[in-house]
């Protein structure tokens, strides 16, 4: 009997630590923890913000954790869904298309910052992204203002001047791509026909999205969407875009000079400048618009914003830090523009000197003056919380639409059915 008691004790001793885990650690404030992705952009910018803050508040400590974007999202989901308060950061970066998803899925988990910032100071569409039931939950960060970046030398050879490329429609763009290819035998642009990037640029330029203002799927009879699908099909049918697979091939296509232009968010500038031998040969025009009345030559792709966790031990310190740098410090925005090519969403900073600087890489033009002007023209859209569901639903029907198995109307309809099914 004694022996068995002893055994039982041994078993207990062996098992208890398994359950004692997290409970024994006492909660300490510690450093302000931050999760983000992309060391050359978000992380580097956050480190700049921290060093500016610490210059005035030497007692503040930070811990910046660099993760892959998918990992940030997955960790955030699992931690929030399990309702644990340990293991979460104080500040986290969330892509704009995903913001509403987090806000509505995890109510009460993100700090309400409505009174901490003056949201009129931020670019309108960015502030809207983080608005839920009249409250603002985040700090708008980088803008994904779209630009039509092109090689002046290559287009000149094909007989196109800068005026030919300013404020054009996508149809005109396709005509130019066709003419360019006929004259040079090269592609004007690279595009992955199953990537939704250009799609979203086209949609937002018309103030349209996959959803209506109530967040209901709005694919059928969506003029902007159907026009965008027609354009994608035209690019495939007339072979106007170099097929590219994945980020590296895509960046390689313009770095190597295989294609003469790229239309995407401003964050691409860093990658364009990686082709150092092409300095002075680039220029930027406004993104093309759709042939619809409401479409303008300004749009957006991507971009993300910072969020403070409601239940973090450092919540108030984190908010104070974000207020002082992201909501006040114009100099900070000048620095990140120069160092990282990041256009923030804080409009008072747009008048700063860095925005007027002439960029030798872009033929000594003040490209950021233009880009920030276009940024303030971007139509507001309600991206809702199901952008990726919609993206997947639309792309899933494109192949059949490309090869003529379905008509445009049928394709849109089956995409909407899929979308409705996946968001119930």
């Amino acid at each position: 009997m004694k022996k068995s008691l002893l055994l039982l004790l041994v078993c207990l001793v062996l098992v208890t630590p398994l359950f004692a885990g997290g409970a024994s650690e006492t909660k300490q404030a510690g450093p302000i923890k931050i999760w983000a992705w992309d060391p050359n952009f978000n992380i580097s910018i956050m480190n700049e913000a921290i060093s500016r803050y610490q210059a005035k508040h030497p007692e503040a400590t930070f811990e910046v954790v660099e993760l892959a974007k998918a990992d940030v999202e997955q960790k955030l989901h699992t931690n929030l869904a399990s309702r644990t308060k340990e293991g979460l950061p104080d500040i986290v970066l969330i892509e704009d298309y995903n913001v509403q998803k987090y806000l509505t899925s995890y109510p009460g988990q993100f700090a309400d910052l409505s009174s901490a910032f003056n949201y009129n100071d931020f670019v309108g569409y960015k502030a809207d992204v983080m608005k839920l039931d009249g409250k603002y939950y985040g700090v708008p960060f980088d803008s994904g203002v779209a630009g039509f970046f092109y090689r002046t030398d290559l287009l000149k050879k094909a007989g196109f001047t800068a005026q030919d490329l300013e404020n054009i429609t996508w149809d005109r763009f396709a005509d130019i791509a066709k003419e360019y290819k006929a004259k040079t035998g090269q592609y004007l642009i690279a595009n992955d026909k199953s990537d939704g990037g250009l799609f979203r640029i086209m949609l937002q330029s018309a103030g349209s999205w996959y959803f209506d203002n109530e967040g209901k799927p709005a694919l059928v009879n969506n003029a902007a969407l159907m026009e965008a699908m027609k354009l994608y099909k035209r690019f495939v049918a007339e072979d106007l875009a170099l097929p590219s697979n994945g980020w590296n091939e895509w960046v390689g296509s313009f770095n190597s000079g295989k294609v003469a232009s790229v239309i995407t968010g401003v964050w691409i500038i860093g990658s364009i400048k990686a082709g150092v031998d092409q300095s002075g040969l680039w220029a930027v025009a406004p993104t093309p618009r759709l042939s619809l009345d409401k479409s303008v030559n300004a749009s957006n792709l991507g971009g993300s914003s910072w969020f403070v966790l409601q239940n973090g031990a450092n919540r108030d310190k984190a908010i104070a830090f974000m207020q002082e740098i992201y909501g006040n410090d114009k100099g900070f925005y000048q620095t990140i523009l120069m160092n990282n090519g990041a256009i923030g969403s804080y409009m008072p900073a747009f008048s700063g000197d860095a925005f007027k600087a002439l960029d030798p890489f872009f033929g000594n033009k003040a490209i950021f003056t233009d880009l920030s002007r276009w940024a303030s023209m971007i139509p507001k859209v309600n991206v809702g919380q199901y952008t990726y569901e919609a993206d997947a639903a639309v792309m899933a029907v494109m192949e059949d639409y490309y090869n003529g198995k379905t008509t445009l109307e049928q394709a849109v309809k089956s995409a909407e059915n899929q979308l409705k099914n996946s968001i119930q």
Partner: protein
């Protein structure tokens, strides 16, 4: 008797920790996910919806696409792989082959590589300017590089090749060890009776391998139905792309579950429903496989008994 009981009790103490862990980490999740599959969740907002998730699943084209992709892989990959495994095992079981140890190790080695590492390796091999395209061009088999990873059929082919490379050796080991358990006497007796090597293989080796063939088939079926790492890593954009593989050809059921949980608005309830669908499919397939082989084994035993071969 008393001693036996005491031993019994001590035995129970020994397995208690394992049982407790099993209870917490296997049994509880199984029942909890069953409950989850009757709820619709959006992060931490959850509501009980009864069988609505199951109805939704039957009207979900994406689910059926994933099911179709998974079964396509299952039907192509598993038979080829198992045939290869059994062939290699038979060859390497032949004592007259030189460097047997080397070949065994070489064939088994792929299965110790990490799933992610080998997926990325194959992605590189079959990339547009990768080794495979370059070699094929040098050998003048093709004129222009093939778009392996952007054409659904080619991409499926790459995935199948990769999985065969990774898992053939693993299954071969099971066959090899089973073959070594077959008594030499049987072969000797058969050859004295005038049976050829090939004939012996089909009448002695294969019948005696039945339980192992069943085991590997069941395991491979389960493995393929849960396939996740390879398609996820082979597909270009991974979690951010609009599609998993060209024209969604890598969208397997497990990838779809991942998307429901982490890429789309997290609906853990519906994800649990889809995992239960996998469970039911696996259970059904396993049942069928057991029945098929069980019946045949029974029949085989009876014939052998009649012939006086096996007791």
């Amino acid at each position: 008797m008393a001693n036996e009981k005491r031993l019994d009790r001590i035995g129970w103490y020994f397995i208690t920790p394992a049982c407790v862990l099993l209870l917490f980490f296997i049994v509880y999740p199984i029942f909890f996910s069953l409950y989850l599959s009757f709820t619709s969740t959006k992060g931490i907002v959850s509501q009980f919806v009864g069988v609505k998730n199951y109805l939704r699943m039957f009207g979900d084209p994406m689910f059926f696409l994933a099911l179709e992709n998974t079964f396509r892989l299952l039907l192509i990959q598993v038979p080829i792989m198992l045939l290869l495994s059994i062939t290699f095992a038979a060859i390497l079981n032949n004592k007259s082959i030189r460097f047997r140890g080397f070949f065994r190790t070489a064939l088994f080695l792929p299965s110790v590589t990490s799933l992610i590492a080998y997926s990325i390796l194959f992605k590189m091999l079959f990339s547009y300017d990768g080794l495979v395209n370059n070699t094929l061009i040098k050998l003048s088999i093709i004129d222009a590089p093939l778009q392996w990873m952007s054409e659904p059929r080619l991409a499926t082919f790459v995935l199948v090749i990769a999985m065969i490379w990774r898992w053939t050796g693993y299954n071969m080991i099971f066959y090899l060890s089973a073959m070594q358990n077959i008594s030499e006497d049987l072969y000797e007796a058969a050859s004295i009776d005038g049976s050829s090597k090939v004939h012996s293989f089909f009448t002695i080796t294969i019948p005696l391998l039945k339980p192992i063939i069943l085991f590997t088939t069941v395991m491979s079926t389960i493995g393929t139905l849960q396939l996740f790492d390879e398609p996820m890593n082979l597909s270009q954009g991974g979690t951010t792309a609009s599609m998993i593989g060209p024209d969604n050809c890598f969208l397997t059921l497990s990838v779809y579950i991942y998307n429901i949980c982490f890429k789309y608005t997290p609906n853990f309830g519906y994800a649990a429903t889809v995992s239960y669908a996998i469970l039911i499919i696996i259970a059904l397939l396993t049942f069928i496989q057991f029945r098929l082989s069980g019946d045949r084994e029974e029949a085989m035993r009876k014939t052998l008994e009649r012939k006086g071969g096996v007791r």
